[in-house]
Amino acid sequence: MVKNGMMLGLGGGHSRESPNAFARELVRMGVKDLTLIPTNSSAYQADILLGAGCVKTLYMSYVGLDYIGAAPNFRRLAESGTLNIIEFDEMGLLRGLKAAGAGVRFFPLPDGMRAVDVVRANPDFYKEVVDPFTGEKVVVVPPITPDIAVLHVARCDAYGNARELGFTDGIMHMAAKKVIVTTEEIVSLEDTQANYKEVTILGRFVEAVVEVPYGGHPGPCSGCYQLDEEHLREYQQAGKNETTFKAYLDKYVYGCKNHEEYLQKIGIANRLLKLKYY
């Protein structure tokens, strides 16, 4: 479904519930020229696509590897001047997505926004207008509509009703034209009905549901497994230069035919299952 040049939203929040297996698959497919809109606080899911050369333009308010530190490819590419970055703060990006999901022309931000330099660094998205009610100045952001948004969750039924703890996925899935959910487990409709108060992703928006166990690795998936610190440190080290990152991709992405081979390479018994106990 994902094509070259598309505007792609990726869910998650910091390193958790991130569609990382999906990102690796895009790298394997060799997708190009994406406009990437990762979750407000993004990590591996954005950085690996950047490092593999899949991204032309990045909408970002934060890219880092959680408490591990800097996202290596993001930093390297940004400092080399080869990446087109659209600079946001957390609220501007989220309110842009919300405007798209709510079908309004723009979303106003709180007083004081004019003091934040993203307004000057990104004049195409932050505009100062006059509030018609008071005559005061107010900063507004336009709708941001990804062609496709991809989310990873712990539990989703076959109809796309998904439960997650809630960071930005709830807004992201309403903003996008199409939604793909990857899930640790496809649960029954009865399971959804028994827990309907926890459903945050509305199935009507969802185009495809894909069962991908450990689909968030090396990030954590809430209630399923913890972050793989050892792997993320290996990733961070590898991403510091192009050659070592190429070797990382050869080993963990191009060198694996599919997600199952990836999991075997990481080590199911000696690594992945251990992440379940903490």
Binding site: G13, H14, S15, R16, N40, S41, M60, S61, Y62, V63, G64, D66, Y67, A70, A71, F74, R75, A78, E79, S80, G81, I85, E87, F88, D89, E90, M91, G92, L94, R95, K98, L109, P110, D111, G112, M113, R114, A115, V116, D117, V118, A121, E136, K137, L165, G166, F167, T168, G170, I171, T200, P220, S222, G223, L227
Partner: protein, 267 residues
């Protein structure tokens, strides 16, 4: 009741958390970020001591009043939901941050902080090809409109404390007196209150809005504090020592930080 005795041996993160904790009042509500182990500990310490009804929530894990009883590396960790009282998605967090009174205080940082308490999380140098690329502005913009802001740092160096940040992610007093008003920050948002570092505490001089040394942690000197900054902070004639953690505070903090994160956090 035992009489409070000050501890003699503690880590920098512990005196920082104890200082911040004492400034939080019962019944108030605060917001903390992701790499915010010290603010989390400060909130839990306040709850365990003088402010049992303090509220706090963390944006990244979406949990209100987490009762999880051990410090973790990431405050975005979903275990923060243990004992939580409500869940606040980022969309709700954004609503609450703009709300006129709901949040009393928040904790923020940056890879650069200047003499007016402005924070930089974005980049240094040319926007298209920066000399240094930071992770991004993320939630620091809220210092423009949150009622009370605490700045905390894990280092104290000239690279961190610069005369003027090239990019304002989190507005402090901007270009000095009247700066916040000029850019439309609401009057209730009073700007940064304290800057707490591993070796000292600063506040801001009322008339000039310049960063002013408030106290120096025991074992450090005014000279050392000055020499490790890229600008000269206001130094009053008398600078007291920061009050160390009490033994009771330290017992709570050591029990809460069973994995020994604070000692590793600040070298």
């Amino acid at each position: 009741m035992f009489e409070s005795v000050h501890a003699k041996d503690y880590y920098p993160g512990e005196i920082m958390a104890a200082f911040l904790s004492r400034d939080l009042k019962d019944g108030e509500l605060g917001v903390i970020g992701t790499f915010s182990q010290i603010p989390w500990l400060a909130c839990r310490l306040a709850q365990a001591t003088h402010a049992p009804s303090l509220w706090f929530f963390c944006g990244p894990s979406a949990a209100m009043n987490s009762k999880f009883d051990k410090l973790l590396w990431s405050v975005g960790d979903y275990r923060m939901h243990v004992g939580a009282e409500s869940r606040v998605s980022l969309d709700t967090v954004m609503d609450l941050q703009g709300h006129p009174w709901f949040i009393d205080f928040g904790f923020y940082g940056g890879f650069q902080i200047d003499k007016y308490g402005n924070l930089n999380m974005a980049y240094i140098g040319d926007q298209k090809k920066p000399k240094f690329r930071g992770p991004g502005t993320i939630g620091t913009m809220a210092t423009a409109w949150l009622n009370r802001v605490y700045i905390f740092t894990l280092a104290h160096s000239p690279r961190l404390f610069v005369d003027k940040v090239p990019f304002v992610s989190g507005p402090g007093f901007l270009d000095g007196p009247g700066g916040r008003e000029k850019f439309g920050c609401p009057p209730r948002a009073r700007g940064p209150r304290y800057v707490v570092t591993p070796i000292a505490v600063f506040d801001f001089e009322e008339e000039t809005k310049l960063m002013r040394l408030k106290s120096v942690h025991p074992g450090h000197t005014v000279e050392e504090v000055k020499s490790r900054m890229g600008f000269a902070p206001v130094i009053p004639a008398k600078v007291p020592e920061t009050e160390p953690p009490t033994v009771e505070e330290l017992v709570f903090m050591r029990d809460f930080d069973r994995d020994g994160i604070l000692p590793q956090l600040i070298q």
